[in-house]
């Protein structure tokens, strides 16, 4: 059986330590900062630290994001194929980025060139650390000797069990980026109201829960996360943040008041999700209850 090469992309949120530990590769997207195109690095090592990056946004500059470019996809896929590896690309939610569709077009071409290889471009209908945890689970299954098809079957059957609960400082960025849908009342001036943003089955961000006050919103995120985990003792919870460690720690403490997860990982949200959701964003991800919306 061929080796399976697992890719995520710049919305998969796993930093180098996780990628190294689980042998996960990633296809970088790009962002334009100060009129420069730079790699949307999950490690914030392209001349902008985590803080620098969001400080640019806090100062009112807009950061534009781009999907994974075709040459990057093709080059990375070829490298794997040349080595005789199969490819499992766990992409950013197709509702938020066209990367998965671009990859599928390229895969169609490459499947002809490499008829013996399997290339799967998977739309997980969610992004962030959920996408990352899927890659970790895929990696573990790979280590258990599961086939690429078996792994894909599992992912596809369980993708809606990955939950997201996000709070943003302002809906401004998501609206600007066109990456949230909600009732019309949400788009107004909400001030004290902090919406909680979930990922629905279509893979869209949906702001459908409203809470008054930032801390109350974080507490509610913690409650929803533990509730969605079902058996929280056996679950790992991911907390991503866009330069808001304080907020992430607050959510962690709130979670610990409600239960003892197997692990809680706090880490930065990647530059793509961060640029779309804005500085201050805190997002939890947990595998558990199936999303029904």
């Amino acid at each position: 059986m061929s080796k399976i090469h697992i890719f995520i992309d710049s919305t998969g949120d796993l930093q180098k330590e996780f990628r190294d530990e689980f042998d996960i590769d990633y296809l970088p997207m790009t962002v334009s900062v100060d009129d420069k195109q730079i790699i949307a690095s999950l490690d914030y090592d392209q001349g902008y630290s985590l803080h620098d990056f969001y400080e640019i946004m806090r100062n009112g500059k807009r950061i534009y994001t781009s999907q994974v470019s075709n040459p990057v996809i093709e080059e990375n896929f070829r490298k794997a194929l040349v080595k005789g590896e199969d490819i499992l690309y766990i992409a950013c939610s197709g509702a938020l980025s066209a990367s998965v569709r671009a990859a599928e077009v390229i895969a169609t071409k490459l499947r002809v060139e490499y008829p013996g290889r399997t290339i799967i471009c998977f739309d997980p209908t969610i992004s962030g650390y959920a996408q990352g945890e899927m890659a970790i689970r895929a990696s573990k299954m790979r280590a258990e000797g599961k086939s690429i098809d078996e792994i894909y079957q599992w992912l596809d059957a369980n993708k809606w069990k990955f939950n997201q609960f996000g709070t943003v400082e302002s809906l401004k960025y998501l609206k600007q980026a066109g990456r949230v849908s909600a009732g019309s009342a949400f788009f107004g001036n909400l001030l004290a109201v902090k919406p909680i943003i979930i990922s629905n089955r279509a893979g869209e961000n949906l702001a459908n829960i409203k809470v008054k006050g930032q801390k109350k919103a974080w507490s509610e995120v913690a409650r929803l996360t533990v509730e969605a985990a079902e058996d929280v003792e056996n679950k790992e919870i991911w907390i991503g943040h866009a330069d808001n460690l304080e907020g992430a720690e607050f959510v962690k403490e709130e979670i610990l008041k409600l239960g003892k997860p197997k692990a809680i990982h706090i880490g930065p949200t990647g530059p793509i999700i961060g640029a779309s959701s804005g500085p201050g964003t805190v997002i939890t991800y947990v595998y558990g209850k199936e999303v029904t919306i």
Binding site: G183, S184, A185, G188, N189, L190, L191, A192, V193, N208, K210, K212, G213, Q214, K215, K216
Partner: protein
Amino acid sequence: MNTLSPASFVSMLETGFRAIKLDRERINDLNVFPVPDGDTGTNMTATFNGGISALKSAKEESISSLASALANGMLFGARGNSGVILSQFFSGFAKGLEGKKSATPADFVAALQEGKLKAYKAVVKPVEGTMLTVIREAAEAAKDHAEFEDFESLFAFVVPVMAKSLDNTPNLLAVLKEAGVIDSGGAGILSIFNGFRKFFLGEDVEDSVFNGPTPAVSTQGDIPFDEDSVLDYGYCTEFILQLLKSLDGPKNFVLQDMIDYLSTIGDSIVAVQNGTIVKVHVHTKRPGKAIAYAQKFGEFVTFKMENMSIQHQEVLLKELQQSGPRKRFAIISVAPSEAIAALFQDMGVAYCVNGGQTMNPSAADFTTAFEAVNADHIIVFPNNSNVILTAEQAASLYRDSQVTIIHSKSPLEAYSAIPMVDFDNMTLEENLTTIQEAIDGLTACEVCPAVHDSSNNGIEIKGGDYMGIASGKLLASEPTMIEAVRKMFAGIEDIDEKSVITVFYGLDATDKDKEAFRNFLSKEYPDLELMEIEGMQTVYPLLIALE
């Protein structure tokens, strides 16, 4: 005091002005008609303000010149019928003091007669049971009384006569009796004279802020007067005419002739003349005739004309999506300022009814709003307990929509509840429950200066104190704004459960006040998240939502 010097005369007038300034809200409350143009207290205060301002540039050499300057200032500053009558009274009064350097009580009594005569002449059909009666009875009683030794005894006599006359107005005018009030214009003149009395007694009258009438009636945009309308009320036409030698006036102009002519084309006529200046108010369906008549004698200094059908029905700041396709849901909110109306509309309110402090909207304003939003279900947020009944009445009169009136007593309830509404995903009942939950979780606080001494909830209120009112209950009355907030917050039992505080800064909140408020919060309530909004509302320097 038995001789009134020019300086004392000015002080007397200023004391009278302070008195009506303090009283104007109470006088506003005496309105018989629930239409927003009936703010007698505000109109009379604004009118008097015009006279007082004119005094400032007048030479203090004689009572005669001061009285004349006062009268002139009031004539130009007059607002509403009560203001015009007031200005005309003082115009006659000034005539009575003509040539006087200073005045004795007897001069004053004589001037009152002139004032009375001119006030009566100002109105085409004098109605008893109004301020005219109060003026007349006081002037006549003073004339019949033995000569007064000093001004103290003159006012000790005149003010109670006026008060008695005022109390009797409901017996003379059925509309007052029906409404259960005394005449507001009479209350205004009594207030002024009472201020004069206090001046002679050496009592101080508290000064207060007068923001002037709120220019909030909008006749712009879509109005309830369209191609199917009929002109019911005519035009409220007001102008100040300068008689010109180059034309037919001042030589040939006869005020009574003009009044007689105007009577043939309209009613509610008030016409006064002061030298070569003529001020005219008339309700007519043919304003062109009034203009043509006036222009034979002079040209206009100012000219104002409003369609009264619109004046009567329309009190709104802005309209969003009027008509358009019928919607399932719409929210209507009463907003006390344009800034708050803009915020509400930003939050998804379909229509804001103007509800400035002196502008309680009428039921017709609401039915106009109901029509404009064109929705199956309408949720209305009043901004004042005075507005709830009006809105409910409007709802009972309106057949085309299901209307729910939220019992909101400040704009804060609307601010708190509206963002929680979700018409896309929830039923009407669920939304109403959500609204109620938001309101239940809200403590609405109002901070405003007291305009006079009072007592409430066991708390003594001094005029000028800041009152802290939480959920309609007075919790504090303190000399400073921050002290009032501190004491009020201390009295809110569940304040520790609150997490967000939103403050609407009023027009009277200074940068210093805002800074002090922020400092107070960060020191004493550091866990509250602060949201600040420039509400630009009048009356309340701070409106605070604790959630």
